[in-house]
C-alpha cells in the first residue's frame, strides 16, 4: 500500500517537474526542476530495490552532470529566453526524437529480457540463496565482470574518447603568453637577478 502511494508520488512529481523544465522561462529554474526529476527517478529506482543503481544515478547525474549544467547556465547569464518563437521551431525534430525513443522502449518491453538469459539459465543455482544472501552490488558485479566484461571495457573506451575530445578542445594555446613556470622561479638566485652598478659622478 505504502509502496503504491510512493510510486504514484514519485512518478507523478517527476512528470510534473519534467513538464515544468520545458515550460518555465528562467533557465536556472529549469535546471533546478531537472534535478528534481532526477531525484524522483532515484526514488523510483529505490522502490524497485535497485539501491546501488539509484545511488550511482544520484552521484553521476545530480552530483556531476547537473552541477555542470547549472554552472554553464549561470555563467552564460541567459535571461528569459522568449518561449513562443522557438517552440514550433523545434516541434518537428523534437517529436521525431520522441518517437524514436518511444519505439525503443516498446522494443525492450516486447522482448523477453533475453540479455540476462545466459546468467539465469545456468543450472545448479540455489535460488533461495541468490535471492536472500547476495547484495545488489555482488549480483551486478557478477554479471558485469564475467559475462559482459567485453562490453564493459568497450563502454570504458567510449568514455575515454569523450575525455580525449574534451582535452583536445582545450589544448589550443596562444603563443606569447607570460606563464608562471615554477622551475624558472626556483632556479633564480640572487647573483643572476640583482646587479650592482657604480654611478660615476
Amino acid at each position: 500500500m505504502i509502496k503504491l502511494v510512493l510510486f504514484y508520488f514519485f512518478s507523478g512529481l517527476s512528470l510534473v517537474s519534467a513538464s515544468i523544465v520545458i515550460s518555465v522561462k528562467n533557465p536556472v529554474f529549469s535546471v533546478v526542476f531537472l534535478i528534481l526529476v532526477f531525484f524522483n527517478v532515484v526514488g523510483l529506482l529505490l522502490l524497485l530495490g535497485a539501491e546501488f543503481l539509484s545511488l550511482l544515478f544520484l552521484i553521476v547525474y545530480v552530483g556531476a552532470i547537473a552541477v555542470l549544467f547549472l554552472f554553464v547556465v549561470m555563467i552564460l547569464n541567459l535571461k528569459f529566453i522568449e518561449l513562443r518563437s522557438s517552440f514550433f521551431y523545434y516541434a518537428f525534430f523534437g517529436s521525431l526524437i520522441m518517437a524514436i525513443f518511444l519505439f525503443e522502449i516498446f522494443i525492450i518491453l516486447n522482448s523477453d529480457l533475453t540479455f540476462a538469459s545466459s546468467y539465469f539459465l545456468e543450472r545448479k543455482r540455489i535460488w533461495v540463496q541468490e535471492l536472500y544472501s547476495y547484495t545488489n552490488l555482488q549480483i551486478l558485479g557478477n554479471v558485469l565482470y564475467t559475462s559482459y566484461s567485453y562490453l564493459f571495457i568497450l563502454s570504458g573506451f567510449v568514455l575515454l574518447v569523450a575525455i580525449l575530445g574534451a582535452i583536445i578542445l582545450t589544448l589550443y594555446q596562444r603563443s606569447q603568453i607570460r606563464r608562471q613556470d615554477p622551475n624558472v622561479q626556483v632556479v633564480r638566485n640572487f647573483d643572476d637577478t640583482i646587479r650592482f652598478f657604480k654611478f660615476l659622478k
Binding site: 545511488l55 544520484l58 552521484i59 545530480v62 552541477v67 547549472l70 554552472f71 547484495t135 552490488l137
Partner: protein, 344 residues
Amino acid sequence: MESFILLFTNDKLLIFNFIIILLFIKSLSYIIPLIIAIAYLTLIERKIIGSIQKRKGPNIVGIFGLLQPIADGLKLLLKETSLPNSANIFIFIIAPILTFFLALCAWAIMPFNEINFYSNLNIGILYLLAISSLGVYGIIISGWASNSKYAFLGGLRSAAQIISYEVSIGLIIINVLLCSGTLNLKEIVLAQQNIWYIFPLFPLFLMFFISSLAETNRSPFDLPEAEAELVAGYNVEYSAMGFALFFLGEYTNIILISAVSTILFLAGWLPPFDIFLFNWIPNSIWFGFKTIIILVLFIWVRAAFPRYRYDQLIQLGWKIFLPLSLAWLMLTSGILLSYDGFPN
C-alpha cells in the same frame, strides 16, 4: 524494538506511532550532541589558534570562555534577518536549509561502535559520496540567488573546488574498499582488526586529509571566503539564521569528514592494541578520540599555512592528486592481486 511493543498491543496504528516516535527520539539524540560538538569545535578552534599565536583566545564569557559559543549562537539567533531586495527569495531561503539538512543527513550511517548506529547501510560509502556531492547545490544556489557578484564568484569557486577534489577522494576511497572488500562502514572498520589502514596506505591518508581540507573549504584552501578578494564568498548576503545554518553545515561537514577518515584509515572504534586496559575504555570514546585528533590537525593546518592561489589549487587537484591517486589504485590492486590478498 518492534517485538518489544508487540508484547503489549496488537493495534497496528499504535505500533506505527510508536516506531515513528522512536525514530524521532533517535534522530534527536544524533542532532543535539552534534550541534553541541559544533559549538565547542568553534571554541577549541579559537583557543588553539590563540595559543599558536601567543594569545589567550576567548576567556571572558564563563570559566575559560566555556560559554562563548552559546553567547555567539544566541547573538546570531537574535539578529535581524535581512533579505536582499533583488534576491530570489525562495531559493535564497532554501539554500542554507539545504546545506544544513544535507550535512545532517550524512550522519545517518555513521557507526560509533559495533552496535550503535542509526542505520547500517550496505552501500554506506556510496551514500556518503552521494550526499557530499549534493552539498554543492546549497553553495552554488545561494551564490546565484544572492544576486551579488561577490557571492556568485564565491559560489562558483567553491563548487568547482568541491567537484574537483571529490574525484580524488573517490579514487582514494576505492583503495580502501579494495583492501576491505565492502562498502559497509561497519565492516570496513572490522576489516582493520589486524592492521589499521593508515600504516600500509599512509601516503593515501595524507592525500585524503589534504583533499578533505579542500572539500570542506578549510584553509589553506578557503578560496571561497577569501576575505581580501571576495569579502566572504557565497554567504556575503546572509545574516542571522541563514548565516548560522551555513556555518553549522560547514562545521558539521568538517566533523563528518574527520569521522569518515577515522573510519577509513584509523580503524574507527577499535583500540590500538587488543589488551585489557584499552578494551576497558568504551569503544565510542576511542572513536571520538581519534576524530578529535584529526579535527585538531584541521585547526593546526589553518593556523600554520597561508592560502593557496586559485590556479594552484585547481592544478593540485587535477594534475597532481588525480594521477597520483590513480597510480596508487593500480599499485594497490597490483599488490593485492599478486599476493592473492583480495578479501572474499
